[in-house]
């Protein structure tokens, strides 16, 4: 794997991790506000 390939992989993974964290936060936020 080339260094450029590694950087590209890392960038993609960071975007996905941010999505995961945002989703956990969103779930708590929705639950705090109830179903409606």
């Amino acid at each position: 794997m080339t260094p450029e390939q590694r950087r590209k992989n890392r960038r993609t993974a960071i975007i996905l991790v941010i999505f995961v964290i945002a989703l956990v936060a969103w779930t708590f936020w929705r639950a705090r506000n109830g179903i409606g």
């Binding site: 794997m1 390939q5 590209k8 992989n9 993609t12 993974a13 996905l16 991790v17 999505f19 995961v20 964290i21 989703l23 956990v24 779930t27 708590f28 929705r30 639950a31 705090r32 109830g34 179903i35």
Partner: protein
């Protein structure tokens, strides 16, 4: 998939073989996708046996009415932990094992994108599984609230529930890491010329599954964390007495839970889409429509979660929406079934064990799909909710779907994994015993459910006895039949049987069949060029 031709490059060109670690270090510090795939598959088979033993304990108690062997509290622990272990310990890790082994080989990548994270994803599994298993021995026993862990029951249980929550956290973290690894590998590490629409369908279905996992596992993690904080830190998300809402838990859980069903079936669709063309000696019919149908199923799976909750008292308009939205899923699923049958149409069919399991999958999974349509109808669902009809439905999907799909894949790729052909006669014995005993076990449960036998009870009214006896006999038959596969796989792994050729099956297509069998320690260090 359009036909793929390759400028062949020797699979282990330029590699120094003495770098390969040996002994326990090879496995504990494994970063090779094939070793990690093997560990995933072994682990998941072990968990299949553990979950299977729990199922047999359940069927032992249900062999006759009245309480014979276990008190209801322990019986409920068995049913709950059977579900959790099979879903999070057996089916999901098994498909990640297939992904680890096959995705790099099918797209021409040298390994997974993040090899060390891959190691961590695997080694989290035994930790989570240990939490599940030892929870039986803590005061109050294991989680007995059902695999769904509905509040308020789950707020009231002993420390076994905390073990289950932590176990789900850990196994969920493993799944998320595995999903990130698969997405990055498929998106960024394909060989030159391997465009997305040339990828084998197994890679497509796993890519879509990985996105599903990323969208649902954080929601489950949040839901069980809320359970934990409600239990120990004074929050009241789900505690009605303090202004919380137990039904909220069901909404959050099923927002995870319904797509989770597709996490456990889409990779099997990918496997069947590899096996059926190989043994029909024809290209897959409607490749592009298969890709779009998979994506459509994934999207729809997020829009139907409350069909699990028709009995919670939701408005009729909501019932109607969730009923019709659920029925829509039959359309892309029907596209898939049609395409598999059309692939076989006028093909030069042979019926080796992988093909037998694939055809059985199509038949029996379709039965599970049809009963799914039936219980999508809200008035019917209200009548059969939490009965054995539901048990029958989802076992037709999870066992005949996921497990038979995995067996089709395992028999198909065992020659590539081990370098040996398995014993075909024993494979067929395994198949026929499994398919017959599976139906003996689960078909009568439809009748039990329609007659009103509720799930999650250790006892039942005497009129349900005959079908329960049949189901219990079938369950033991099915359970012991799986030992045939264990014997076969261990034999092939230990080097017994006919040596397998690189192209182990006449009609098999794809990059994995261009490398020797067994697949060398390192493959595609120099990427192949796909035309």
């Amino acid at each position: 998939m359009s036909s793929v031709t390759v400028d062949h490059i020797p699979a282990s060109e330029g590699h120094v073989e003495h770098e390969r670690p040996t002994g326990w270090r090879r496995w504990v510090f494994a970063t090779n996708h094939k070793d990690i795939g093997t560990m995933y598959l072994l682990f998941s088979f072990f968990m299949l046996l553990e979950g299977g033993v729990l199922a047999l304990l359940v069927r032992t108690e249900l062999f006759s009415p009245g309480l014979q062997f276990f008190q209801p509290e322990l019986f409920n622990q068995f049913t709950t932990m059977h579900g959790l272990i099979m879903i999070f310990g057996a089916i999901m890790p098994a498909f990640v094992g297939f992904a680890n082994w096959m995705i790099p080989l099918q797209i021409g990548a040298s390994d997974m994108a993040f090899a060390r994270m891959n190691n961590l994803s695997f080694w989290l599994l035994p930790v989570g599984a240990t939490l599940f298993t030892v929870s039986f021995f803590v005061p109050g026993g294991a989680n007995a609230a059902g695999w769904t862990m509905y509040a308020p029951l789950s707020l009231q249980m002993g420390p076994g529930m905390d073990f289950a929550i932590f176990g789900v956290h850990i196994l969920g973290a493993s799944s998320i890491m595995g999903a990130i690894n698969i997405i990055v590998t498929v998106l960024n590490m394909r060989a030159p010329g391997m465009t997305m629409m040339k990828m084998p369908l197994f890679c497509w279905t796993w890519l879509i599954t990985a996105y599903l996992l990323l969208a649902i596992m954080p929601v489950l993690a949040a839901a069980v964390t809320m359970l934990l904080t409600d239990r120990h830190f004074g929050t009241t998300f789900f505690n009605a007495a303090a202004g919380g809402d137990p039904v909220l838990y069901q909404h959050v859980f099923w927002f995870f839970g319904h797509p989770e069903v597709y996490v456990m079936i889409l990779p099997a669709f990918g496997i069947i889409s590899a096996v059926v063309p190989a043994f029909s000696r024809k290209p897959l019919f409607g490749y592009a429509s298969m890709v779009y149908a998979t994506a459509a199923i994934a999207i729809l799976s997020f829009l139907v979660w409350a069909h699990h909750m028709f009995t919670t008292g939701m408005p009729v308009t909501a019932q109607l929406y969730f009923m019709y939205a659920t029925m829509l899923i039959a359309i892309p699923t029907g596209v898939k079934i049609f395409n598999w049958v059309a692939t076989m149409w006028r093909g030069s069919l042979t019926f080796e064990t992988p093909m037998l399991f694939a055809i059985a999958f199509i038949f029996v999974f379709t039965i599970g799909g049809f009963t799914g349509l039936i219980i999508a109808v809200a008035p019917i669902d209200i009548a059969v909710h939490d009965t054995y009809y539901i048990i029958a439905h989802f076992h037709y999907v999870m066992v005949a779907g996921s497990l038979f799909g995995m067996y089709a894949g395992a028999y198909y790729w065992i020659p590539k994994w081990t370098g040996r052909m398995y014993n075909e006669r024993l494979g067929k014995w395994h198949f026929w015993n499994s398919i017959i005993s599976f139906n003996v076990t689960f078909f009568p449960m439809h009748f039990l459910g329609l007659a009103g036998m509720p799930r999650r009870y250790a006892d039942y009214a005497v009129q349900f006895t005959d079908f329960n006896v049949i189901a219990s006999i079938g369950a033991f038959w099915f359970g012991f039949s799986q030992l045939i596969f264990l014997y076969l796989a261990v034999k092939a792994w230990r080097g017994h049987g006919q040596p397998a050729a690189a192209q182990s099956w006449e009609g098999a297509q794809g990059l994995e069949w261009t490398i020797p069998s067994p697949a060398p320690w390192h493959t595609f260090e120099t990427p192949p060029v796909v035309k």
